[in-house]
């Protein structure tokens, strides 16, 4: 069937509000706002998540490392006495077996015992950061107590800069995740639900221009995107002082592009599915790898090198990279251009394919 031509109202008295596009977009707003769960997941959830993570990973005063000393022998007892006042360490005196248990369960970062030659033996897991720092602190304390003098004089200045904390790292990730969810869930569920209810078929039995139906989704996403950005960035800036160092316009363009690309992916996922169960499976299949790989909660560079080309090509990775660079490093257009190019490629690919595959009945 040919695509209907553009809509040309002949009735002059009717206002823009009576146009198909305006009415369809209003329907999107009404359906969204009358669904309290959707409002919660879109606006409140990212803030709650940011607060939770902000509290859990707040920058505590330099952690005290807990170590165990096996006492009961003369060497052990003198070891305990020498370490008791060491800075940055909390020393627990104990017997052999409880020391072993403490080490196993991770309550102790290190256990110090006397060795056969009258020296000290450190038991610790060198793959754990606390293990390694406990080794350094304990050894330092013992050597100093034994009279070591440091040949190089050092001075310290402590810095805790906004923009390098975990909360700063995670907010762009959450923003990206939210844009992905909004696009994919927002379009996927609504379209498949309309198809399941025979509503799509009913709509195309009218003179409604089909493109207006799809555009109404993009218009409403555009509006909600602005609200999302303001709510998430505003609240995290207020609560945690998360900075936006780059240009706001650039940040907005990145998010708009991402919202359109994920809208296209949502449209693609929903293009043929007939049941909510079917489309849910497809949406999870699409989003799950990105939740894990795209660096929402930890840097995607932690994954092996061979996987990097794939990970970097994911739309969420590109989105989060661009957002982080702009917010935290104040990077300009030239820095984020490759990320924006990846997002644009997804946008074109998903819309082209979705419009080819889309089933109206």
């Amino acid at each position: 069937m040919p695509e209907p031509m553009m809509h040309e109202p002949t009735d002059a008295k009717r206002s823009w509000r009576d146009s198909a596009l305006a009415q369809l977009t209003l329907v999107r707003f009404r359906e969204f706002l009358r669904e309290p769960e959707a409002v919660f997941w879109t606006f409140a959830f990212p803030i709650i998540l940011a607060i939770g993570l902000g509290v859990a990973f707040r920058n505590k005063p330099a952690d005290v490392v807990v170590i165990g000393v096996v006492t009961g022998t003369p060497v052990g007892d003198s070891l305990a006495a020498r370490l008791a006042k060491a800075p940055g360490l909390r020393v627990q005196n104990m017997d052999d077996s409880s020391a072993a248990r403490g080490l196993r369960t991770g309550e102790l970062a290190l256990v110090a015992t006397a060795n056969a030659s009258g020296g000290v033996e450190y038991h610790f897991d060198d793959t754990r950061p606390e293990g390694r720092s406990a080794r350094a602190l304990t050894d330092d304390a013992l050597q100093r107590a034994a009279g070591r003098s440091d040949p190089v004089s050092v001075s310290e200045r402590k810095v805790q800069e906004k923009g390098s904390r975990y909360i700063d790292f995670v907010v762009p990730g959450l923003l990206g995740m939210n844009i992905m969810g909004g696009g994919i869930w927002g379009l996927g569920f609504a379209i498949v639900e309309a198809r399941r209810r025979n509503l799509l078929k009913r709509l195309v039995s009218t003179p409604m221009p089909r493109s207006h139906y799809l555009m109404s989704f993009l218009f409403s996403r555009f509006f909600f995107l602005i609200v999302e950005i303001v709510v998430v960035l505003g609240s995290t800036a207020l609560l945690f002082g998360v900075p936006v160092r780059g240009s706001l316009l650039q940040l907005f363009v990145e998010q708009l592009m991402a919202a359109l690309a994920f809208g296209g992916i949502g449209l693609l996922i929903a293009s043929r599915a007939k049941t909510i169960e079917g489309v849910s499976g497809l949406m999870n299949l699409t989003m799950m790898p990105m939740w894990v790989l795209s660096g929402v909660f930890f840097s995607s560079s932690n994954f092996p090198k061979v996987a990097q080309p794939f990970i970097q090509a994911l739309p969420l990775t590109a989105t989060i990279n661009a957002l982080r660079a702009t917010m935290l490093q104040g990077a300009g257009w030239s820095v984020v251009a490759p990320s924006i190019a990846i997002i644009a490629a997804w946008l074109v690919f998903s819309f082209t394919l979705a419009l080819k595959l889309f089933r109206w009945r």
Binding site: T10, Q23, R202
Partner: protein, 315 residues
């Protein structure tokens, strides 16, 4: 309104549609005159919905020609959509919208149409304007669907099973609305598997079975084609299986046809006053006791039974 009263509202010839091995429509012809209410009557699965959706331009036929208001779907879809009103079987409109918002939405699709408030009043939902669609009863939802179908002021209205699943009172309410729409000069095509609905609403009825039109005419003509104005149903519960046969019963005074279905006999009768005494006498002669005895005026249901040997509702 400029109703195209010169040609037929709908002309369908040689329509064919198969889904895999299942032939849904098998060489179907129809002509619907402008201003008439035309009914496609048949059991579930007869091909009514496929036929009407092809006419609505929603399904592409394998073969055949469809002319709607003198136009073809492949050339004039845009214009046709403006001039048609369509109610699909089982459309669930968005539950979170109100009646008002829903009709407004559908009004926005048409370049010319009726006033939204007026249409809502016509379908008697004036008091429910601000109610959510999800809170409406089945009959109210069906009337809302009708409002969405007529808000573009259509010349031709397609209604697919408009009263299926409704209680008797809601059905009667919808019937009154359809009669009014018909009186205002619109052409209407409706499908139904209720013979009383077709009898009450339609000027012309096509009885459809297995994707073909097996009888066509006004309800009165179709019933008259039985050659009998009444139907007598009876049972003879104690009778041995072969105690009665069609030939014997047909030979009775005033009886024009006879058939048996699940131990229940049905006689098509031209004159009740002669046939019933003759039947009773025959049973007495054979020493058979009468179980139930009922008579009714012949209906389209009886026409369908006479043509197919099956009941509409369990066909």
């Amino acid at each position: 309104m400029s109703f195209n009263s010169s040609g037929p509202a709908l002309r369908v010839t040689g329509l064919r549609k198969a889904y895999g091995d299942i032939v849904a429509v098998d060489g179907l012809d129809l002509t619907v005159n402008a201003g008439e209410c035309f009914g496609l009557l048949g059991p579930n699965g007869a091909g009514k919905t496929t036929t009407i959706e092809i006419c609505e331009g929603l399904t592409v036929p394998d073969a055949g020609v469809v002319e709607v208001l003198g136009r073809r779907w492949d050339k004039d879809e845009r214009e046709l959509r403006e001039r048609l009103g369509i109610q699909l079987q089982e459309t669930q409109l968005a539950e979170k919208l109100t009646v008002d918002e829903t009709v407004n939405l559908f009004r926005s699709f048409y370049s010319r149409g009726r006033d939204v408030g007026e249409v809502i009043d016509v379908v008697q939902l004036g008091e429910k304007r601000k109610s959510r669609v999800g809170k409406l009863s089945g009959g109210q939802k069906q009337r809302l669907a009708l409002a969405c179908a007529i808000v573009g002021d259509p010349e031709l209205l397609f209604l697919d099973e408009p009263t299926t699943g409704l209680d008797p009172q809601s059905r009667r309410q919808l019937w009154d609305l359809i009669v009014e729409l018909r009186a205002s000069g619109r052409s209407i095509v409706l499908t139904t598997h209720y013979m009383d609905e077709a009898e009450k609403l339609c000027d012309q009825v096509a009885i459809v079975d297995h994707g073909k039109v097996i009888a066509l005419g006004s309800p009165r003509e179709l019933i008259a084609s039985l050659g009998a104005e009444h139907v007598v149903e009876f049972t003879a519960p104690d009778a041995p299986a072969d105690a009665l046969d069609v030939a014997t019963l047909r030979a009775l005074d005033g009886v024009t046809g006879a058939r048996e279905h699940d131990g229940r006999w049905m006689l098509e009768v031209s004159e009740l006053a002669r046939a019933v005494p003759a039947l009773l006498a025959e049973l007495r002669n054979r020493g058979l006791a009468l179980g139930e005895l009922a008579t009714h005026s012949a209906t389209l249901e009886d026409v369908f039974v006479s043509l197919t040997g099956r009941q509409l509702r369990d066909a």
